[in-house]
């Protein structure tokens, strides 16, 4: 076999780019193996002697809790991080991959959780511009023909002339995969590729990858949290726990329970609160005829009316992009309402600091780093956002007592198991799951009973242990009498938690039913816009 390194020489690139357009008959993709990878970040041992082998044409799932080292391992393979010890082999050659571009030239491609597409360019433009080297003048007619020929060989097609913005989420993720294939990648690394997809879209995308792997066209290494997907599509599984390999095996030999045990180890399962059966009390949140506009004057909310009572969880289901985000933004004070009223305890509510405090309203928005944290401020400061301006966190009335903030943060970090080097570290450096835990600690950990909780996809992108913990904390709050508005794109979550389900479509509430008598088919029709 030819040394794959030869492909990385600049002179070889055009040849390779040509090969991407006309691959001809291909052998199976090269095997990828990582042996004894160790990686430290300061005092933190992120990876400790981790080995993994990706056989040609296999579909390998990498499982683990948040912070277990999955992303770090993949980044070491891709050359983002130099590993402190260990080696990565592609085919027969042991290589030290020093940069993502080098990995790319060896045929290793990465698909991220979030899109790396240029939204206002066409599919064809996105594909061509992703190439590592481009001629000074692009012959678009030739490129289009090449892309058409390329698409013809793919198991699915996207019109190359469409603008990426117009594509549905699932199509965008498929385009990310197509882009890697177009670039000639034979080994695909995917970091939670389905987290932004509906279950049906996820099945379609993963099914396609599975087929291509079966045909020996590609090998797949996928980071995932979802046992269902792992069981349905993967043939091999490696589980990481705290930077070490906690278990591995063939997917058909493993059960979700066995994998879960490998992920969390011998620790006892997190408390799962049972739903109390006290009846819902008086209304806490009332929204009447709420309307709001989003970018370019689009009417995102179009007369939303709903009520949330004391001690009940009202779930809002719907396909994302139907106004749920804007509804939460209005309730969080991040977007102005055009019409209508938001009433808490019968009083007009505008999410100002005094009102939030008087009515004890808390919010768990989605994307907590973007919506609820200042990345450059410390964990202690971020945990103090709700309380920094009142005793005991003030000094001399107008001053902020950093010492008091730090003490309270130490307690919250311990209680909510936030993994951080110290409470003085900028919160932006924490992993996504730990940012989420920190926000949860701030919003729920104040010790006082919360009257109204607004939660938007609170478990998005989290591993199952964290999901169980967050759900049980929300259920416990409900049992203590908190009124909860739960906006979720995950219907299973709503069925697991809510007392009542509302369906939102095109900025309106189009369906309502108590969870006990909820009909999944009817909800599905409502979500799809059929009344």
């Amino acid at each position: 076999m030819m040394d794959p390194r030869a492909l990385s020489s600049p002179a070889a690139r055009p040849i390779r780019a040509a090969a991407a357009r006309d691959p001809g008959p291909l052998g199976p993709p090269p095997a990828l193996s990582a042996a004894g990878i160790t990686k430290r970040f300061g005092p933190l041992l992120a990876l400790d002697d981790v080995s993994l082998r990706l056989a040609p044409g296999s579909f390998h799932a990498l499982l683990g809790e948040n912070g277990a080292g999955k992303s770090t391992l993949v980044k070491c393979i891709m050359g983002y991080h130099p590993a402190d010890a260990g080696e990565v082999r592609v085919g027969d050659a042991a290589l030290s991959i020093r940069s993502p571009r080098e990995a790319q030239s060896l045929g290793i491609g990465m698909v991220y959780q979030h899109f790396t597409l240029v939204m206002n360019m066409t599919v064809a433009e996105n594909l061509v511009l992703a190439r590592p080297s481009l001629p000074l003048v692009i012959d678009w007619r030739k490129e289009r023909e090449a892309i058409r020929a390329f698409m013809a060989r793919m198991p699915f097609r996207i019109d190359p002339e469409r603008t990426v913005r117009e594509l549905a989420t699932g199509e965008k993720q498929k385009l990310e995969i197509l882009k890697q294939l177009y670039l000639g990648s034979r080994i695909l690394l995917l970091d939670e590729p389905t987290s932004v997809l509906t279950p049906a879209e996820a099945d379609e995308v993963l099914g396609m990858l599975r087929r291509m792997a079966d045909e020996q066209r590609i090998s797949v290494l996928m980071i995932s949290h979802k046992f269902r997907e792992v069981m349905a599509f993967a043939d091999e599984v490696t589980v990481l726990r705290r930077g070490r390999v906690a278990g591995r095996g063939k997917a058909r030999d493993l059960t979700p329970a066995a994998m879960a045990e490998m992920m969390v180890g011998a620790q006892p399962a997190h408390v799962s609160a049972a739903r109390g059966d006290a009846p819902a009390g008086e209304p806490v949140l009332r929204i009447v005829g709420l309307a709001a506009t989003a970018g370019r004057g689009r009417r995102a909310l179009d007369g939303v009316t709903l009520t949330v009572r004391r001690g009940e969880i009202v779930g809002i289901a719907g396909v994302s992009g139907n106004g749920q985000e804007e509804l939460v933004e209005v309730l969080a004070g991040q977007r102005a309402a055009r019409e209508g009223a938001v009433l808490v305890h019968g009083e007009p509510y505008g999410a100002g600091r005094e009102q939030t405090r008087a009515h004890r309203v808390r919010c768990l928005p989605e994307e907590p780093l973007r919506n609820a944290c200042v990345p450059a401020m410390s964990v202690a400061e971020n945990l103090g956002f709700r309380v920094f301006d009142r005793p005991p966190f003030t000094a001399l009335r107008f001053g902020v007592s950093r010492a008091a903030l730090r003490r309270s943060a130490e307690r919250l970090v311990a209680e909510y198991a936030v993994k951080t080097p110290s409470v003085d570290a900028p919160i932006g450096r924490l992993s996504g799951g730990n940012v989420q835990r920190a926000v949860l600690a701030r919003e729920l950990g104040s010790g006082e009973d919360i009257e109204l909780l607004i939660a938007a996809n609170p478990c998005f992108g989290l591993d199952f242990a964290a999901v169980a913990e967050i759900r049980s904390r929300i259920l416990l709050a409900r049992n203590r009498g908190t009124a909860v508005l739960l906006v979720s794109a995950d219907l299973d979550e709503i069925f697991a938690m809510a007392d009542r389900v509302l369906v939102m479509s095109e900025g309106r509430i189009v369906h309502e039913s108590p969870i006990a008598s909820a009909d999944v088919a009817a909800i599905g029709r409502a979500m799809a816009g059929h009344r």
Binding site: A351, E354, N371, R429
Partner: protein, 366 residues
Amino acid sequence: MKLLPQALLGRETAEVIAIPVGALAASLLVFGAFVASQGANPLGVYYDMYRGAFGTWFSFQNTLLRAAPLMLTALCTALPARLGLIVIGGEGAVVVGGLSAASAALASRALGAPPVAVLAAMLLSGLAAGALWIGLAGALRVYRGVSETISSLLLNYIGIAILNHLVEGALRDPASLNKPSTAPIGAENALGNLPGVEVHWGLAYGVLACALCYVLMHRTTFGFAAAMSGGNVRAALLAGLPVKRLVVITCMLAGACAGLAGMVEVAAVHGRASASLVSGYGTTGILVAFIARHNPLAILPVALLLGGIGASGGLLQRTAQLPDATVNVLQGILFIAILASETLRGRPRAAREPEVRQAAPASAVA
């Protein structure tokens, strides 16, 4: 928070100091090449600049006199920067502050007020005029979505035009023939010198303002709220903070500082309002604020340095036969070097540590 950051020897602290110092050294090199091309010996020029700025007690006093207004105008850019706003309207705020201080002095003098009352009237009207001026830029930002950078820049021209209009018209002293000015405020109403030195009280105002602004921005709940809003406006809104009000108040404080600089120029230096108020202190203040990374305490030494560079222009002209605008060339080189060096921040780390992700600053509101 301790007085000194705890990681004094840590990498980030080293970076905070090393990057501006490196930029300074690089711009001195470039400037050296420039003066060499003009036929002067760079080392001689630097020595002359040192002498002209800090070499003698006389030249040091001159430096202090120039540093005082720079401290105040630098605050005009540094305070809004904590909220993520880039305000470059210091010059206009100096002008309207000086103009309204002179008008207040003339009005209160006409009413027969004693010197203390005249000075108090000047102080208050200077502060108020500057506050309204930059407050307007802040309000346009949050309520109308106008870029504060553009509006404060344009407000400079408006302020200067108003000054020229009034000193050449309604407020013109008929006795000021060559240089249209307002009537003098009167020697008895002038702002005096600090005890024992030939430096007016404006320096004390500048130092005090920087100290107060440091405490406000780094130690108080107001500063905490401002840092939240500047760091991520969505998080600040979620926490229920009145972000728009914070922006307007901070802009008003910033403008008040620059307005105070204008008042000091009128009350201690010129004794009247004239086109001399347009002296570039507002513009140099932007440079001071950026070099000081918008930290009010760091503004003090930086203002001294830039004041010294300005003060050395005269000596340079006499000894090296270079035009006194040469020091402006150095200022320009410095500004570009400092702005460019910002991109080096965190470079050696970026490859290994996850980056602190950026979030929307308060300027993104409205």
